[in-house]
């Protein structure tokens, strides 16, 4: 197998990763692996390739297998391409009580896909997630870095129409 080429990580990403590495003791670079995976995932759009994971292993002097373990354990790392906007809908208890069922139905209907699927134009992916810690604003969803709370059908329409 060819040696992973950490040129795959661009300069901006490296600078970002280096800032995380600096937070931990000098001999504990591995602590930055979660941040590094997030950063290269963002650099790549929204998902991780094996090459990128290998590049992270290389960059942080880790065994590849340990990087894969981390990348598959945590739910925020994606292993296949998604739509431009990942819509994460919470369906856990507080959101369920406050009507996440209708929110899911509206989104599925509007985008004409099921949970876990991506629209044909690759603009949207719907993902069901566990409690996101915004329960008193239920029902809620996350798109990118933003939380949207106290949702109803009308509000969702406005939010989606406002996305580029």
């Amino acid at each position: 197998m060819p040696q992973a080429n950490n040129e795959l990580i661009n300069t901006a990403s490296r600078e970002d990763i280096d800032q995380w590495v600096a937070k931990y003791p000098a001999d504990k670079k591995q602590s930055a692996v979660m941040a590094a995976l997030r950063i290269v995932q963002d650099q790549n759009g929204c998902w991780l390739t094996t090459e990128l994971m290998d590049a992270v292993a290389d960059y942080l002097d880790m065994d590849k297998i340990h990087v894969y373990e981390v990348a598959t354990f945590y739910s925020m790392y994606e292993h296949k391409p998604l739509g431009k906007h990942k819509i994460c809908v919470c369906t856990n208890i507080s959101c369920m009580v406050c009507g996440s069922g209708e929110i899911v139905a509206h989104l599925e209907d509007k985008l004409d896909i099921k949970m876990g699927e991506t629209t044909e134009d690759n603009r949207f992916t719907l993902k069901e997630v566990e409690c996101l810690g915004a329960c008193s604003g239920a029902p809620m969803m996350q798109i990118g870095e933003n939380y949207y709370e106290n949702l109803d059908a009308e509000k969702i329409d406005t939010i989606l129409d406002g996305l580029k």
Partner: protein
């Protein structure tokens, strides 16, 4: 009066700035300790007297936890803040990070002083981008203003803190899984002993506390242990943040005295939304057993009272279930959650949570068999006490709770293949 401790900046314009925090007396507790050279033992005594108990869920006395640290031993030690906030229903730490991040930083620094740590990490769940940004900005402000760094207030005490972002895994809220995660590994809980006070982050002595626990410290130091204690009741000191969710007029986070009647909290939330009736309450996050609404009306919001009612104050997440909620649907959803989040290390938890979720799915969708109800109870019982971490118990307790008071709804699902109440009953 509400909002006197963790939310004391909430009424201000931009409550998260250093300027806002200083205007309510911010960083004065740390300054007082360091300039008056108050011994760490004295602060730990104060925290014990205040009866502050861990706000992360287990309710362990904070002063006692700090006293386990080998503070005089040489070598690196750590203070770690748990802002992973993943227990369904819980959304209070998010607001501390968003609206009062400096108070958490001051609390971490004081804790560091007490346990002999010069470094702190705050583990923030990965989805909390806005709270993380606020906290990180506050770190920057604090460093620039000299509240973090070397020789603070001219003393010999050095302290700095950093944030660590999670990646989406409820189990990382468990303190040893959280340490593994900071070390850059899968978040799988460690077998205990050894406990973190002896062998923690990178194998060094470590204290882990919840965000709300640490953010309470500066006010305890400022106003005194007695002041804090008197806001609650003996063994249940202080104020507490309650995250109230459900079909209420004003759901939200409320910081109130421990021991406040549940009925008053419900009133603060404006009562139920029109057209909804109170049916039951999950009083301390999804892992705590459900309590029927009528019974809850006689309970006060503190550790001992909720425990006497058969449940737990847990993380302080008060989930209101109304008369439209089918208890079978509710438990099926929670069981799915625990199955998803089990880290898989222990067979009883991995298999048991899967089994519970499978049986619940069956009952919910009308394929339940008569023996399933007893089977559920047995599977839940078989997990308890046989696992490395408390997620096993967390998955079992709701099962026991729902079956205790709402067995009839489970029976109805099996007999009629539909819900007894709510939209699914039609």
């Amino acid at each position: 009066m509400a909002n006197e401790v963790c939310f004391r900046t909430l009424h201000l314009d931009e409550p998260w700035t250093l300027e806002s925090y200083l205007s309510v007396g911010g960083y004065q507790s740390l300054k007082k300790i360091l300039t008056e050279k108050i011994p760490a033992e004295d602060i730990i005594e104060q925290v014990k007297t205040s009866a502050l108990r861990g706000r992360g869920g287990a309710g362990f006395p904070t002063g006692l936890k700090w006293s386990f640290m080998p503070r005089h031993s040489e070598g690196q030690k750590y203070i770690v803040c748990n802002s992973d906030e993943g227990e369904p229903g819980t959304c209070k730490d998010r607001d501390i990070l968003r609206y009062n991040p400096h108070q958490l930083i001051e609390g971490m620094a004081i804790a560091g002083y007490c346990i002999g740590a010069d470094t702190g990490y705050n583990y923030i769940r990965g989805e909390f981008w806005e709270p993380y940004s606020r906290f990180d900005n506050a770190l920057k402000e604090a460093r620039e203003a000299g509240y973090l760094g070397d020789k603070l207030f001219g003393s010999d005490f050095n302290f700095d803190a950093h944030s660590h972002l999670g990646g989406g895994a409820y189990i990382c809220g468990e303190e040893t899984a959280l340490l593994e995660s900071i070390e850059g590994k899968k978040g799988q809980p460690r077998f205990k002993p050894p406990f973190p006070a002896g062998f923690g982050l990178y194998g060094k002595p470590t204290t882990i506390n919840n965000t709300e626990t640490l953010a309470s410290i500066p006010v305890i130091v400022e106003k005194g242990a007695q002041w804090f204690l008197e806001h609650g009741k003996p063994n249940n000191g202080g104020t507490k943040l309650f995250s109230v969710s459900g079909n209420l007029k004003r759901p939200g986070n409320y910081e109130i005295d421990m021991g406040t009647p549940f009925s008053e909290l419900l009133e603060m939330c404006g009562g139920m939304k029109d057209g909804y009736k109170l049916k039951a309450v999950i009083p301390g996050g999804s892992s705590s057993p459900v309590i029927p609404g009528e019974q809850m009306m006689d309970v006060t919001m503190d550790y001992d009272s909720i425990q006497a009612a058969g449940s737990m104050l847990g993380s302080g997440a008060v989930i209101i279930l109304d008369d439209n909620v089918c208890m079978v649907n509710a438990l099926a959803r929670l069981s799915h959650f625990y199955q998803e989040e089990s880290c898989g290390q222990c067979t009883p938890c991995r298999e048991g949570t899967g089994w519970i979720s499978h049986i619940m799915h069956r009952i919910e969708h009308g394929y339940g068999k008569q023996e399933d109800i007893d089977l559920l109870d047995k599977v839940a019982g078989d997990i308890m006490g046989r696992t490395i971490c408390a997620l096993g118990e967390a998955a079992s307790m709701p099962v026991k709770g729902f079956l205790k008071d709402y067995r009839d709804e489970f029976q109805y699902h099996i007999d009629h293949k539909k819900c007894m109440v709510g939209p699914g009953s039609k």
